[in-house]
Symmetry: C2
Subunit: 204 residues, 2 copies
DNA sequence: CGCATAGTTGACTACGCTCAACCCTGGTGG
DNA sequence: CCACCAGGGTTGAGCGTAGTCAACTATGCG
């Protein structure tokens, strides 16, 4: 049972979910809208946009397939931010009341949901930790090590452009590029296009 | 019913929880230890430390009373990081199996737990968003606005030293100090010690 | 009264950002 | 098949700002 793959859900929940296709720039919901559902990304790439009281906006990327969007909706009346598709995307819609009811009555589902939340917390912490590493090349290296660890490989293949990785890391594409060439020059990684191989995981 | 205040818990859960006092520098658990419990901070201040494969360490502050620690333990076999008390601290211990059982059988408790997790995700996202604001004074201002919004006040009183705030914001104390004096000089805030008042929430 | 710690201020440095030019690749159309 | 174009990636030069180090002040506690 898994909220990321609806076909595994129990029938009473499976038939209340809807899919929605979004075109580039189309918004899934606006900041302040009534919180009616939470979502899971099926395909595409979206971003979260928050408008602050002084009118500026802060954005936050939502990239990965299977990522939850607006889980806060379940425990809040309105959305505290807007979500906008960056490219054509497809999401699963879980309407608030039905999913809350299902979570209450189906402990297995609730457990899966909790595990997803916990995982997300872990991911966010990692990302925040990375930001505390000032030196770009070290931050990138730590990121690569983390990715390698996840996939249990020493070679990482990116499924999206480096400039997207850069914003995830809080760097500009230029700085990321320089950091990678530096790591390569120092013999810590080798790379071909979007493939990067870590050389010696043990050494400093 | 609330995991942050044990007296509100049902008896079957209340009598399995334990409290633990930690002295400064004492560790709650080590990275790689078997995940036996998750925790909630009652008093004090702790930090999370992760040792990377190349021996360096990355830390992460855990400050607030009521904050959960190691919720990942519930869905993982080992702790992926260590937690160490920075000052004398006291935590509630929720042993893994009993709490998992309670969450399965008590949907109200599960809902409270999910709400806590969702809230934590929200907090982490906000913190991550703040890091994307490069200019120190703007980052600080955004942080102050966010704090003010939470407490629905225009005056913020800090319960911990500014240098702790600084690390939360990813700044050095010196830079935070300069940012605050700048905001004050520009008439955006006024302050006395650890009290800060936002002047005009509307203007840029 | 003195000590420890927090906070402030100053001078200098370093590193990431910005802007700009250029290369390379892949896709499209004549 | 080549010409063109668009986007990603790389490289370079210069700048700005946060970090670092150090000295000093303020505050609170024994």
């Amino acid at each position: 049972m898994n909220l990321q793959s609806p076909e595994s859900l129990p029938p009473e929940l499976r038939h209340v979910i809807i899919h929605r296709e979004l075109e580039p720039k189309e918004s899934l919901f606006q900041q302040g809208d009534e919180a009616k559902a939470f979502y899971v990304v099926e395909t595409g790439r979206l971003k979260l946009v928050r408008y602050t009281s002084d009118g500026k906006e802060v954005t936050f990327p939502i990239a990965r397939r299977g990522e939850m969007i607006a889980e806060i909706a379940l425990f809040s009346d309105t959305y505290p931010y807007a979500v906008i598709a960056e490219v054509a995307s497809r999401v699963i819609i879980y309407p608030k009341q039905p999913i809350l009811t299902a979570l209450r009555h189906n402990s297995e589902l609730a457990e899966d949901f909790m595990a997803m939340l916990v995982q997300k917390i872990h991911d966010l912490k990692i990302r925040l930790e990375l930001r505390d590493i000032r030196a770009a090349h070290e931050r990138v290296l730590r990121y690569l090590q983390y990715m390698a660890q996840l996939s249990e490989q020493t070679t990482i293949t990116f499924d999206r452009p480096l400039k997207d990785i850069a914003v995830d890391l809080g760097l500009t594409p230029e700085t990321l590029s320089r950091a990678l060439t530096r790591l390569e020059r120092e013999g810590i990684i080798t790379r071909t296009r979007l493939q990067i191989k870590l050389q010696n995981l043990s050494a400093a």
